[in-house]
């Protein structure tokens, strides 16, 4: 549900980086979505498509790349990708882990069709 306000945030960030006259040339906006961010890529794409319709950016598509939820264990020192999003090491079951990635939403890049 909050994908709509996140799409709005993406739009504002893009507008800060691309001047008015170049916005119709935007062909792709690439986002990294943390697997444990609570944001659903399909819902975000749907929301993005809906809100760009009334802007000069209507040609832009949202490209989403999922970043796995990765934790590092302080006991066995190994890194594991825990798909469930739980704070547990998959190698030794220790709860003493720190999050390395997979919780953020990052706007990576914007592609423009400007020859």
């Amino acid at each position: 549900m909050h994908e709509l306000s996140i799409a709005q945030n993406i739009l504002e960030t893009v507008q800060e980086h691309v001047p008015d006259e170049k916005r119709p040339l935007i062909s792709k906006v690439t986002m990294e979505i943390g697997a444990a961010s609570g944001v659903v890529a399909e819902a975000l794409t749907f929301a993005f498509d809906a809100i760009v319709q009334d802007t000069p950016m209507r040609n832009a598509v949202l490209d989403t790349v999922i970043v796995p939820f990765t934790v590092r264990c302080r006991e066995c020192r190994k890194e594991s990708q825990n798909e469930s999003g739980y704070m547990t090491c998959l190698f030794c079951d220790s709860p003493d882990v720190s999050v390395l990635s997979g919780t953020d939403l990052v706007l990576k890049q914007i592609e423009l069709n400007d020859e």
Binding site: M1, H2, V18, K108
Partner: protein, 215 residues
Amino acid sequence: MSIVTIERKVLEKNDEIARKNRDLFRSQNIFAINIVSSPGSGKTSILERTLEYFNGKVPVAVIEGDVHTDLDAQRIAKHNIPVVQVVTNGMCHLEAKFVSDSLSAFDGKNVRLLIIENVGNLVCPSNYDLGEAHKIVVLSTTEGDDKPLKYPAMFRNASVLLINKIDLVPYVNCSIETMVRNALTVNPKLKIFKMSCTTKEGIAEWCGWLQERIK
């Protein structure tokens, strides 16, 4: 074709305002908590029991977040403490700006404990930092003991879990032991309190935890 590299968190603006809120709370010795849960778990009831506990002893202020109506603020105002109702008009979570915009209402009140009651939703509020010292997640026994596993983000980001409606355990299909185990699977560092707003069991323990942190 050209590529503009951005590398920016999309919620950076919210995080920035949250940081300012946090700095302000720290400089004014305000202990701020953000209470999150699904609708109907008992956030407002816990808030009312908490206000009764601190009645007159600690200056408390409340920010109420709701999609519609100011029903919760009306409940809180009866306790004679400053309260701001934020109506999000459909938005499923509070953002840091709602909090910073509300703070002027508490000027000169010497607030020591600020309780922010988020919109009832077990998914969306987990993405938005408000500047609070701790996220407090409420889960009631009527919701089922599997919820921490199904909504891990909220439980991972919280530091305290309040298990509410423990008086209803005999009537519902919920094991508190399983709920605790599931919550600790997601986040082994969760501090857990079990309570009932009807019998008031566990309220003093929870308020004691708060009391230790209020300056």
